[in-house]
């Protein structure tokens, strides 16, 4: 028998997923938001009180703008089909443009059809950042733990524990900073249980995390009814952290209130994102942590103490999430109530995945969820044609689509969730 040459390759076209999604978006925008949309105009204010100078109001005629945006999106969809035919992938920035256009068109559609056709874009964004604060801390906690190889489902419990402890300590000591520190300790305590059971006793990390959430919810709920509600003046009247206004800078329209008019926790958030990112990717500590999360045995053969690294990272994650939880009772809300964290720990978990286990990615993902959350609040106020119950679903829908859209493309630390046991 003679030798044959290399058999020819056949072309396998890339997945149809992206073109189909882009086409669906284009059709929805063009027909539903455009042709069937309201012909009133949507007004977006860019200024908030105390701004240094005035920016003009943005006005979009509802129907006309959405028909234009719809046509642009149809163009993009057609382009993506053509790209697929050439076996090429659609560039990520084009998908990003499509997403931004879709959000814009949605905003124009709801606002132009609402009872009040004016919303403040400045407060929409500023509010989004505020709502994102606990999510950012929660997701940083998730990043710290998972990068070291421990899945932290207990973020919700850490946020809740932090919120409760902060309220209690701040009320008792009349010192908001004592509350902040106590919140960090509370988060660390939740983490210690997680670390002990998942690292030392090799219990399934998911199960420990879920149990911890239930445990913290139970304890805080019990203490709330038995202690706090007995004497709310004494136990549940936390002193709030001051909002620090940086003069001059905070008067810049739109970005001023976001960056330079925050509570201490708000500023800490920006700092924490940077520190965790820098630590993980630029330092010796980070290299070791990531090695432990990716290939613990390799780290072990190089003399790195795998379980010790994991233990400290989980503890650190707990502190971060605990501080995030204090945001509820030291900044956002007057007093502690049951389940004050409202499932945000789970959204933070989604932000970890959506942000691809990167602190900055997780921060941006948390901002997106915060945006959806705040949008829902504002749109309910202005009275949209969409029932408010559907609006309330929005942050969760965004979460599901964001995470589902990434399945198969996003790869977490290889050893996350797997206990390391020496033979």
């Amino acid at each position: 028998m003679t030798a044959s040459t290399l058999q020819p390759a056949i072309n396998v076209l890339p997945s149809k997923k992206t073109p189909i999604i882009l086409s669906a978006i284009a059709v929805i925008v063009f027909f539903c938001f455009g042709l069937l949309g309201n012909s009133d105009s949507a007004h977006f204010q860019l200024n908030s009180a105390g701004d240094a100078f005035k920016l003009p109001e943005l006005v979009f005629p509802g129907k006309a703008s959405n028909i234009v945006i719809g046509l642009l999106l149809i163009g993009l969809a057609v382009y993506s089909w053509l790209q697929r035919k050439k076996s090429k992938l659609v560039a990520t920035w084009m998908i990003a443009i499509a997403a931004v256009l879709f959000v814009l068109s949605f905003l124009i559609w709801v606002v132009s059809g609402a009872d009040i056709t004016t919303i403040s874009l400045a407060s929409l964004l500023a509010g989004a950042v505020v709502l994102a604060v606990p999510l950012v801390f929660g997701s940083l906690s998730g990043v710290l733990c998972e990068r070291a190889g421990v899945v932290n489902i207990a973020i919700e419990g850490q946020l809740l524990g932090g919120a409760f402890t902060a309220a209690l300590v701040s009320s008792l000591t009349k010192n908001a900073f004592a509350g902040l520190i106590a919140a960090g300790i509370a988060g660390a305590l939740v983490s210690l249980i997680l670390a002990l059971f998942s690292i030392k006793y090799v219990v399934n990390q998911i199960i420990v995390g879920v149990v911890l959430n239930v445990l913290v919810s139970g304890i805080t709920g019990f203490l709330f009814t038995t202690v706090m509600q007995e004497d709310p003046e004494l136990y549940n009247k936390p002193v709030h952290l001051p909002v620090i206004d940086i003069p001059g800078l905070s008067a810049i329209p739109v970005i001023g209130p976001i960056l330079f008019k925050q509570s201490v926790i708000g500023y800490l958030m920006y700092l924490a994102v940077f520190i965790v990112w820098f630590g993980l990717f630029k330092t010796k500590w980070g290299l070791r942590v990531r090695a432990v999360g990716e290939h613990p045995k390799a780290a072990d053969t190089l003399g790195i103490k795998v379980n010790r690294t994991r233990f400290w990272n989980v503890t650190l994650g707990g502190i971060v999430a605990g501080i995030g939880g204090s945001f509820f009772t030291l900044v956002a809300i007057d007093s502690f109530t049951k389940e004050i964290s409202g499932g945000r720990g789970f959204i933070a978990l989604a932000a970890v995945i959506f942000g691809r286990w990167n602190p900055i990615g997780a921060f941006l993902a948390a901002l997106l969820f915060g945006f959806a959350d705040n949008l829902q609040v504002i749109l309910t106020i202005i009275g949209t044609p969409v029932p408010s119950q559907f609006m309330a679903m929005m942050p969760y829908l965004v979460t599901i689509f964001a995470v589902a859209g990434l399945v198969g493309r996003s790869r977490g630390p290889a050893a996350a969730g797997e206990p390391y046991v020496k033979e």
């Binding site: 056949i10 010796k284 090695a291 072990d300 053969t301 190089l302 003399g303 020496k422």
Partner: protein
């Protein structure tokens, strides 16, 4: 540096993986540990590297006793180890992997990889490794990853380098290059402990060969010993390894695979338009370095891997799109590559494992009931026929050794009337005695007229069994060549060189240069005798 192991024993529970082992490695010596899979070579090295604590005995470096509580201590003492399964973080760059654990830092613990990069380039240049410090490890070929491991040890100034089955994952050319690197390291004063069960390599490069069997040192011999001698020492009895199979008498092309393509969920084409036939009464061996589409090919035929395009016809009947059960019923006997995961339910008894895919058919099953007598009778007959070493067919399959487990799988699959027999890595991790047995069974099935497909990463096995050889490279068939094609040509083809070019290059090397390795005359026939695995 001189290394001495004195009376090392390592017990796991009541089982001794190493028993009273004495070993002496001289300065700048290549000392080979030869033994079958499971003989206790890797355990011994893990003890030396501080991963395991010895139950008894002591380790001496340059005459001084040392104790290692972990790999960190061993490294500090000048011992480096290249594990069989690389200890590299796949998503890190080469420099990050090498820096890990011994990082150079600037103020505040900030990583300084410049220094590491410089060291990598130095070593890379000295041994002409050609390793880019900034490449991501998972993108590198296995051979290069292995060099990264060696650099990792050298950067830590290892005086003694342990190489644990380093050639298992390499193409023959890469293996020759590695042997050359080992000689250079030795010339620079590094002692090497080389763990292997491949006689050809061991004889080519070692200064001393220590044979280990069942956890004990059997003998230390010189590399001049013949392969038969070494094989006998390794197995513990005289082994007859030459298969002497009759030439194939191929009939009709029963299996016709056409343009078979598999794309994995991540969008990578793992099997790319593969086309081949297998005739009645012939063995087609699929050769290739691990991870070039072998798993996908066999699983696509079986039906456990979704097929993107192409067709598989068995005696004219299309298999693609059928359920696994239908495929098996149409006459496929299938030995999966990982017997303990996919070939057996290890918690089930041997008896039950022997009817895993037959339990619902006569004589074993009728309606909702099973005929336990028939199952028992079948087990007794099969155990005898395949010489499965067990005292009770009701023992769990997990109680068997690798070779006996494989016999159970093979017995089950061959007990039906087959139209096609596929065996993936039929003798991986199997002792030499069982290999001989399993190979004979495969050839006997061929002689019954069944088309046989063998997938193996062991070139020796491929050359021993094959009537024709198809080489898989990056998911494509890089040529189908006759079964007597030389090792050199196959090696080049496994590295992506086309069949014609490979033949020319091999010819050129033979006439112009000595092969890198001092291969004795009559290499090929000797290989067949000596290297069962």
């Amino acid at each position: 540096m001189k290394l001495e192991l004195r009376g090392i024993s390592k017990a796991f529970g009541s089982f001794y993986a190493n028993k009273n082992i004495d070993l002496m490695v001289d300065d700048a010596q290549i000392h080979c540990l030869l033994g079958e899979n499971g003989a206790g070579k890797s355990t011994l090295m893990n003890v030396l590297y501080g991963l395991y604590q010895p139950t008894e005995g002591e380790i001496l470096l340059d005459g001084k006793p040392v104790e290692f509580s972990g790999p960190g201590d061993a490294m500090a003492a000048g011992i480096g180890m290249v594990h069989q399964h690389f200890m590299l973080v796949p998503v890190f760059t080469v420099a990050e992997n090498i820096a890990l654990g011994a990082e150079t830092t600037k103020a505040g613990g900030v990583l300084d990889l410049q220094d590491t990069r410089k060291k990598i380039r130095e070593i890379s240049d000295r041994y002409s490794f050609d390793v880019d410090p900034d490449a991501i490890v998972e993108d590198l070929p296995v051979g290069v990853q292995q060099r990264v491991e060696i650099i990792k040890a050298l950067v830590r100034e290892a005086k003694i380098l342990i190489l644990d089955e380093p050639t298992a994952v390499l193409t023959p050319q890469e293996t020759d290059e590695l042997l050359e690197i080992m000689r250079q390291l030795k010339a620079n004063g590094t002692s090497i402990v080389f763990i292997s069960h491949k006689l050809r390599e061991v004889r080519a490069v070692s200064d001393v060969i220590t044979v280990i069997r069942r956890g004990e040192v059997i003998d230390s011999v010189s590399p001049e010993s013949s392969t038969t001698e070494l094989a006998n020492l390794m197995v513990g009895r005289a082994v007859e390894l030459n298969l002497n199979k009759a030439p194939a008498t191929p009939g009709d092309a029963v299996l016709q695979v056409k343009d078979l393509t598999v794309v994995d969920p991540a969008g990578t084409t793992t099997l790319n338009s593969v086309t081949f036939d297998i005739h009645e009464g012939e063995i087609l061996a699929v050769a290739g370095v691990q991870g070039n589409g072998q798993t996908e090919l066999t699983e696509a035929i079986l039906g456990t891997q979704p097929v993107t395009a192409g067709s598989v016809k068995l005696a004219g009947e299309e298999l693609v799109g059928k359920s696994v059960k239908q495929v098996l019923r149409s006459g496929l006997g299938f030995v999966p590559e990982d017997r303990s995961v996919h070939g057996l339910v290890t918690e089930f008894s041997i008896e039950e494992n022997l009817v895993l895919d037959l339990y619902d058919r006569a004589p074993f099953g009728k309606g909702i009931s099973m005929n336990l007598d028939a199952i028992k009778k079948n087990a007794t007959a099969q155990i005898k026929d395949f010489d499965v070493r067990t005292d009770n067919p009701l023992n769990p399959a997990s109680s068997l050794s690798g070779g006996n487990q494989q016999k159970v799988v093979m017995a089950r699959e061959l007990s039906r009337d087959l139209k096609l027999f596929i065996a993936s890595q039929p003798t991986r991790g199997v002792d030499v005695g069982s290999i001989e047995f399993l190979h004979r069974r495969i050839v006997a099935e061929r002689d019954k007229g069944t088309p046989v497909m063998i997938v193996s990463t062991e070139l020796d096995e491929v050359m021993e069994l094959a009537d024709r050889i198809a080489v898989l490279y990056k998911g494509r068939i890089n040529g189908i060549v006759p079964g007597n094609t030389s090792r050199e040509v196959l090696g080049l083809m496994m590295a992506g060189v086309s069949a014609e070019e490979a033949a020319e290059q091999a010819e050129f090397t033979k006439s112009d240069n000595e092969p890198v390795e001092a291969a004795p005359a009559g290499e090929r026939s000797e290989n067949q005798e000596g290297e069962g695995q």
